[in-house]
């Protein structure tokens, strides 16, 4: 028996192998880094594996399906401290926002205090270098600061890319001393509110600083599972106490990267290096919602010409959802054929998802075949599996509405 498709890696982050072979071999030679919760993962019996240069928990004793279902029904705690956190600091919100707007297509000038936006770092061709979350702190004393969270496997390149393109009045401060935890699921708000009551009234994609039993923590109401939930950034040395306190709640279980991948797949969320990369534009990826009106009109971001054209005329290909007709999963790299047997695209993520107790996938197809319900064929190990183009998310999002 041997693994033909190793999908152990499962996060917003891409493996270095997705980009080229060189960084991976370099990583294999260097010792794996550890997050502040490494000892806790081992104590909980996690199965660890290398991911983006870190020794990360893939799953715990109960297994991926059980962890997945726990997150959908209660509250899952994720260690995502391997992700890249940084502060972009300038003279005023306006000048800092403009500095970042030169690199991403989101409207950040009009980002209100205490609000968060999802965007993408773009290359000159409008291809996606990485996707990231940008937060404007609520505290007026922090005017001129934007907090960034980027993918682990891209963080070194991302920060170098940003740093090299900043105006003189802005600087990037890496927050490598900070941990990042996510608490996700229908019970996440109740659980976290036992320690910091103010989080319950937070809006989706908002952020604030809270005290968690005396520990200072920056909380945003967002995540990568499709559930209501929070991401919590704190100083590295506080993370273990923070996690152990949350885990004392019977609603909370630690969740590994395996379930993080199946949760985000069901939620139709992109995984960098798989569903989006330098060859895909935000419009092709179905991320045009993250490009606000002002930026669509004004442009002024890398690749604006291509992206404005795709917005006006539609892209040549589109990221779509796919549901195979049998129970057999179709994974990344699977070719997609139309009814006439012609190649129309490729699967970029796929697998078995617990909430539907069956397989789903996402991938790119020619725009002419992107219509929901279009019959296609997936070539898995030489055999054609029937599948239909399906709407995403596969499982409805349950973000909080306030």
């Amino acid at each position: 028996m041997s693994e033909t498709v190793d999908h152990q890696s499962s996060d917003k982050t891409a493996e270095p192998s997705s980009h080229s072979d060189a960084p991976q071999s370099a990583l294999l030679q260097s010792p794996l880094q550890r997050t502040p919760l490494h000892g806790l993962h081992l104590a909980l019996g996690a199965r660890m594996a290398p991911f983006a240069g870190y020794d990360m928990p893939i799953q715990y004793a109960s297994g991926i399906i059980s962890e997945h279902n726990h997150t959908r029904t209660a509250a899952g705690l994720f260690d995502v401290s391997h992700m890249g956190q940084a502060f972009l600091i300038g003279a005023s919100h306006h000048s800092t926002a403009l500095a970042l707007e030169a690199l991403v297509p989101a409207d950040l000038v009009n980002l209100a205090p205490g609000r968060q936006r999802y965007t993408q770092l773009l290359n000159e061709e409008g291809g996606i270098l990485d996707d990231l979350m940008v937060t404007r702190p609520a505290d007026p004393a922090q005017d001129g600061v934007l907090m960034l969270v980027v993918n682990a496997a891209c963080k070194v390149e991302d920060f170098a890319h940003i740093q090299a393109r900043l105006p003189n009045d802005a600087r990037l401060l890496l927050a490598s001393h900070r941990a990042l935890l996510a608490l996700q699921g229908p019970k996440a708000a109740k659980v976290l509110a036992r320690h910091c009551p103010s989080v319950e009234s937070m809006a989706f994609m908002s952020a604030r600083v809270v005290s968690f039993n005396g520990l200072t923590c920056h909380v945003s109401r967002s995540g990568y599972t499709g559930e209501d939930g929070f991401e919590m950034s704190m100083r590295a040395e506080l993370a273990d106490q923070f996690a152990r306190t949350l885990l004392r709640d019977e609603a909370v279980k630690m969740i590994g990267l395996g379930a993080r991948d199946s949760l985000r797949l069901e939620a139709g969320l992109c995984l960098y290096g798989h569903d989006i990369d330098v060859t895909t534009s935000p419009v092709e990826a179905g991320l045009a919602w993250s490009i606000q009106k002002r930026r669509r009109i004004e442009g002024g971001f890398p690749g604006a010409q291509r992206i404005q054209l795709e917005l006006a005329e539609g892209p040549k290909r589109l990221r779509v959802g796919l549901v195979p007709e049998s129970r057999q999963p179709a994974r990344e790299g699977t070719e997609i054929l139309n009814d006439a047997g012609e190649a129309i695209g490729m699967i970029t993520s796929g697998g078995f998802v617990p909430s539907l107790n069956g397989p789903v996938a996402m991938g790119y197809v020619d725009a002419s075949h992107a219509q929901i319900e279009t019959q296609v064929h997936l070539i898995v190990r030489g055999k054609a599996l029937g599948a239909k183009i399906a709407p995403m998310p596969f499982v409805p999002h349950r973000y909080v509405r306030t």
């Binding site: 028996m1 041997s2 693994e3 033909t4 498709v5 190793d6 999908h7 152990q8 499962s10 893939i58 799953q59 297994g63 991926i64 399906i65 997945h68 395996g258 991948d261 199946s262 129970r327 057999q328 999963p329 994974r331 697998g351 078995f352 617990p354 397989p359 190990r381």
Partner: protein, 124 residues
């Protein structure tokens, strides 16, 4: 009745007039939750080491190789509806297929129970 193992963690259990093939307990634990098993066709002939099945867990697809040459005499239909049997009872209800052996002497190159347990222990 005796059971033999490959280094790829397939087992083959010899019964009166046929042999039963599946994956070991160690293999199922490494794979995690099994969600789909692609079984060979009834009557299919194969040689030692040929790919005869595929087992898919949530995170990966893994090939299963024939521990010995022969022909498929039965397949475990229950795995279609309940692939989780591979996790629950890999050497019981979670068997993959039954086969007739073309050359029993091939078993000599496989590990017996004690050798396989030592092999698994050496994997750490």
């Amino acid at each position: 009745m005796s059971t033999y193992y490959t280094k790829d963690h397939e087992y083959i259990r010899i019964e009166a007039d046929h042999a039963i093939v599946g994956i070991s307990d160690y293999a199922q634990a490494q794979l995690g939750d099994v969600v789909f098993v692609e079984l060979p066709a009834l009557g299919q002939s194969f040689g030692t080491g040929d790919q005869v099945a595929v087992v898919e867990s949530v995170k990966a697809a893994s090939e299963v190789y024939a521990p010995a040459s022969g022909q498929v005499s039965a397949i475990n239909d229950a795995l279609e509806a309940s692939p989780g049997l591979v996790n629950e009872a890999p050497q019981g209800a979670g068997w993959f297929f039954k086969m007739t052996l073309s050359d029993k002497s091939q078993l000599a190159s496989l590990m017996d129970e004690a050798a396989y347990q030592a092999f698994v222990a050496s994997l750490g």
